[in-house]
């Protein structure tokens, strides 16, 4: 009898070319996604006189540096535009497919992969970006790598990896009104900590995940890295297959049938052992926000700013005081009293069509009190939203309707939150200076961000939509 196996182990074994005595495995890579930041790897490759071994399995997408208000220029700032042009030159030279500025497929790399059917269950996908875990929502083993590893994959289409430990997060129960996948993942990170999954790959399971849309699952897997986990995985099911069917690069006809048969075997066997298990009751999850400068600083919107005086460890007490000082917050203050200066709805975490619909439902018939920008995750999503009239809802409510890109999640394209300003953001990181030097970020769901836009302060979205 064969030992029950985890989903992760099944995908890992398929890609193992050889195992070295020291416990490191050479893995074959099915999909390699690049973006402007991959220039270090291309530079290294060229300096060593090497070529891209499998340009046919490599896809490059311009996303980090592309302007969202003048996308046709690439970027009006010459030094930013240069980084986009560098990607075009490198991909031209190496024969790599590029979805560059103006391409109908262009968007955020982690949105485009699934959307085009480049991401498929059972594959091994890498990208020089830590949010690559997003693709795990389709049952694709996917993780972020650094520039040296990107160069290694470009040159060899393989990667040496030590097998990570496994952590299964089981989430059961229905989600309450106004509670979204973003709230679930913020809650999880607050429970296990920003290094709670370091050294582990996470498999998400349980009824909440099974009931969740594929897009919602992407939001969950996306933020695995904010819990320290390099990869997040969800077993593919009928929802996954329905999502993928007829996507541009999904298998067709007879291949689709054999693929389905193969994909149905991609689940952890009953009794499969994980190195760690964590359980979350979805009923404990409320609409949440982060108040500090680490993603683990998340709590229900009904809460109050923590008080350093209640912290025993002097190092942590000092760190908490410094955080509140940076964030401009007063201990004990109700979170819903905190006024915001701007709102960002976008990023690989929360810029898919369901996210835009959720934000639009709150914005509809209301008026933004602060600058609010909406940045769709890809050009196809932008067009779909426009076909559904979501752009009109946002524009009539005073939100800016922008072109696609990573935008204010990381500010590389120039979409920045000015020093000292507070941004309600649907992105994934609230690090100091993440959205610009001195910026103050509060992470939340698209509906919560839209609620903050129309009230001008952090708001419990249930107060606007009912259902508290």
């Amino acid at each position: 009898m064969t030992e029950p196996t985890t989903l992760f182990e099944k995908i890992w074994r398929r890609h193992a070319i050889l195992d070295r005595e020291d416990g490191t495995t050479l893995l074959s890579i099915d999909r390699h996604l690049c973006h402007e930041g991959s220039f270090h790897a291309f530079d290294k490759l060229k300096a060593q006189g090497r070529r891209v071994r499998r340009p046919d399995l490599t896809v490059a997408i311009a996303d980090h540096y592309v302007s969202t208000d003048a996308p046709e220029t690439g970027n009006q700032d010459p030094s930013r535009r240069e980084v986009i042009e560098r990607l075009s030159r490198n991909t031209d030279e190496m024969g790599v497919r590029l979805y560059g500025v103006g391409a109908p497929e262009q968007g955020i790399v982690h949105v485009v992969g699934p959307e085009q059917g480049i991401t498929l269950p059972g594959l091994l996908l890498v990208c020089g970006d830590s949010h690559t875990a997003t693709h795990g929502a389709l049952g694709c083993l996917a993780f972020g790598i650094g520039a040296s590893e990107v160069a290694h994959v470009l040159a060899t289409q393989t990667l040496w990896q030590k097998k990570p430990k496994t952590l299964r997060v089981t989430i059961d129960g229905p989600l309450g009104a106004g509670v979204s996948p973003k709230d679930v993942i913020l809650h999880l990170i607050s429970v296990i900590g920003a290094n709670g999954a370091t050294g582990h790959m996470i498999e998400y399971a349980g009824s909440t995940i099974r009931e969740m849309s594929v897009e919602g699952r992407m939001t969950i897997c996306n933020m695995s890295i904010e819990a320290g986990g390099r990869a997040g995985l969800i077993a593919p099911d009928d929802k996954t297959f329905a999502y993928l069917k007829d996507r541009r690069y999904a298998p067709k006809d007879r291949d689709w049938e054999s693929a389905l048969e193969d994909w149905r075997s991609l689940a952890s066997d009953p009794g499969a052992r994980f190195d760690r298990e964590v359980s979350i009751d979805a009923r404990d999850v409320a609409p949440s926000i982060t108040w500090g400068t680490s993603p683990e600083d998340a709590m229900a919107i009904t809460g109050r700013v923590p008080d350093p005086a209640r912290e025993d460890d002097p190092t942590r007490q000092a760190a908490l005081s410094a955080t509140l000082d940076y964030m401009g917050l007063t201990p004990g203050e109700a979170l819903t009293n905190i006024a915001v200066n701007r709102v960002f709805i976008g990023s690989c975490t929360n810029a898919r069509i369901e996210d835009l619909r959720a934000a639009a439902a709150v914005a509809k018939g209301r008026a933004a009190r602060v600058t609010a920008i909406v940045v769709p995750g890809s050009t196809p999503i932008k067009l779909q939203a426009e076909a559904e009239g979501l752009d009109r809802i946002f524009i009539e409510a005073g939100f800016e309707w922008r072109a696609t890109g990573c935008s204010m999640c990381v500010g590389m394209n120039g979409d920045l939150t000015p020093p000292g300003e507070r941004c309600a953001s649907t992105s994934n990181r609230n690090f100091k200076g993440r959205q610009g030097p001195g910026s103050r970020t509060h992470l939340m769901s698209p509906a919560m961000a839209a609620a903050a836009a129309v009230t001008g302060r952090l708001t419990d979205v249930r107060d606007l939509i009912g259902g508290a």
Partner: protein, 205 residues
């Protein structure tokens, strides 16, 4: 990369948890090619006050520690983005080793590929090193990768673990692309078999 030699250098304590790569090098400096001195970007916004002037309380700003080759940090150092430029910034500033209770996984991997040694020690040990650096007359630390040991100015020695392959690559300054290409036959055989079993895996479109 340069082979990793023995270190005998000053160490600076950075007793803050979750130092992310955005703090190590802010995103706006990431357009620079590798040939640019990335040391100037290291902790750029952390080490300066709102007025842009260096903060006196930031360890690497003190004259004694500006040439420190070892950083003794706290839990989850290098968490966040995969930017390898975080390692370039540390390396170009002369730092060759970071000691911490834990690291972001991607940062750890990036470090070992650029001649920067990440050492994991228990948090209690790391705390004792901060204490030693604070109270001893010297901030001098020795790091010997060959014997996997750290010697402190108070005479105490700590052993650390490291993956044997990463150790070899660091010590010899090896580039793993060349090592991998020695397995070209196995890679091709695997690719062919994998593509035959699952045609959709071996092609896009």
């Amino acid at each position: 990369m340069e082979p990793f030699g023995k270190l005998d250098t000053n160490a600076a304590a950075l007793a803050l948890e979750n130092i992310d790569t955005d703090q190590i090098i802010p995103a706006r400096f990431m357009r620079a090619p590798r040939s640019t001195d990335h040391g100037q970007f290291l902790f750029h916004d952390m080490r300066r006050g709102p007025d842009g002037e260096p903060r006196a309380d930031f360890p690497l700003n003190s004259p004694d520690l500006s040439s420190a080759g070892v950083l003794v940090a706290d839990t989850n150092f290098g968490c966040g983005s995969s930017r390898e430029a975080a390692v370039y910034a540390l390396y170009d500033a002369g730092i060759r080793c970071v000691i911490a209770p834990s690291f972001g996984d991607i940062f750890y991997s990036n470090a070992t590929k650029n001649g920067l040694l990440p050492i994991v020690l228990d948090r209690a040990v790391v705390q004792s090193i901060w204490k030693t650096l604070e109270t001893a007359n010297s901030a001098r630390i020795e790091v010997d990768l060959e014997s996997q040991t750290v010697h402190l100015p108070n005479g105490v020695t700590h052993r650390f673990d490291i993956d044997p392959f990463k150790k070899r690559c660091l010590l010899e300054g090896l580039d793993d692309i060349d090592l991998t290409l020695r397995h070209s036959d196995e890679i091709e055989r695997h690719e062919q078999a994998h593509g035959e079993t699952r045609p959709w895996a071996g092609t896009i479109g």
